[in-house]
């Protein structure tokens, strides 16, 4: 299994540009998550999904959109990039919901800079 994969690894955007961060998992996990991690800080949940066709907002959803058309893929869309969105973005997945002796598996991250 490749686990959780993310593309691209790095990206520089200009203010106002849009892009999609890709995330895929091959573990047949139902739950998927998008986090952002600012320098020296912890992880903030942006959006999560409990299964194909179902998404929900996390702590910091503004400026982002997600979709979950398949179990495997959970892309994150930035429509109008702003400098405040400069961060490292992590995608994660879990077999079922946290709290059932169930860990999250993380991808390697996408480092995004908005200038």
């Amino acid at each position: 299994n490749a686990g959780v994969t993310q593309t691209p690894k790095f990206r520089i955007l200009k203010i106002g540009q849009s892009m999609t961060l890709q995330c895929a998992q091959d573990m047949n996990h139902n739950y998927m998550y998008w986090y952002r991690q600012d320098p020296g800080m912890g992880l903030k949940l942006i959006y999560y999904s409990v299964g194909a066709g179902i998404t929900d907002k996390g702590e910091v959803p503004n400026g982002y959109n997600v979709s979950r058309s398949t179990t495997e893929d959970f892309p994150l869309r930035l429509e109008l990039a702003a400098p405040s969105q400069t961060s490292v973005y992590f995608c994660a997945s879990s077999r079922s919901q946290p709290g059932k002796n169930n860990e999250q598996f993380f991808g390697p991250g996408t480092r995004l800079t908005v200038l």
Binding site: G42, L43, G58, F90, Q97, P98, G99, F106, P108, G109
Partner: protein, 112 residues
């Protein structure tokens, strides 16, 4: 609101010493906790978890202690090695909430 915080943002230890990383949480309804390790340039990785009906759980060289009375969690690493240098996060979860809350992390540096 909910928050998970860490007492010490950085910790430096000598190789071979034991390390203790602390975490405070504020949601008394949290019933499941995980410690993650994040090496430089990588995503977090699971280390050990504990449910709220336990106060101690041991793994290989790691022990997690939970004190629900004061809402405190700690991670103990025995015989710390250079490969243990990383940022350590605790995460708290309320079962059926569907998501976890992460703390800000402690940076552990192991000196040879």
């Amino acid at each position: 609101g909910e928050s998970v915080g860490l007492h010490l943002p950085t910790l430096s230890v000598q190789e071979g010493d034991n390390s203790i990383i602390n975490c405070a949480y504020s949601n008394s309804a949290s019933d499941y906790f995980i410690w993650y390790k994040q090496e430089s340039g990588k995503g977090p990785q699971f280390i050990i978890d504990i449910r709220s009906n336990m106060d101690k759980r041991q793994g290989q060289r790691v022990t997690v202690l939970l004190n629900k009375t004061v809402k405190h969690l700690s991670l103990q690493i025995a015989a710390t090695q250079p490969g243990d240098s990383a940022v350590y996060f605790c995460a708290e979860t309320v079962t059926n909430a569907g998501k976890s809350t992460f703390g800000d992390g402690t940076t552990l540096t192991v000196k040879p």
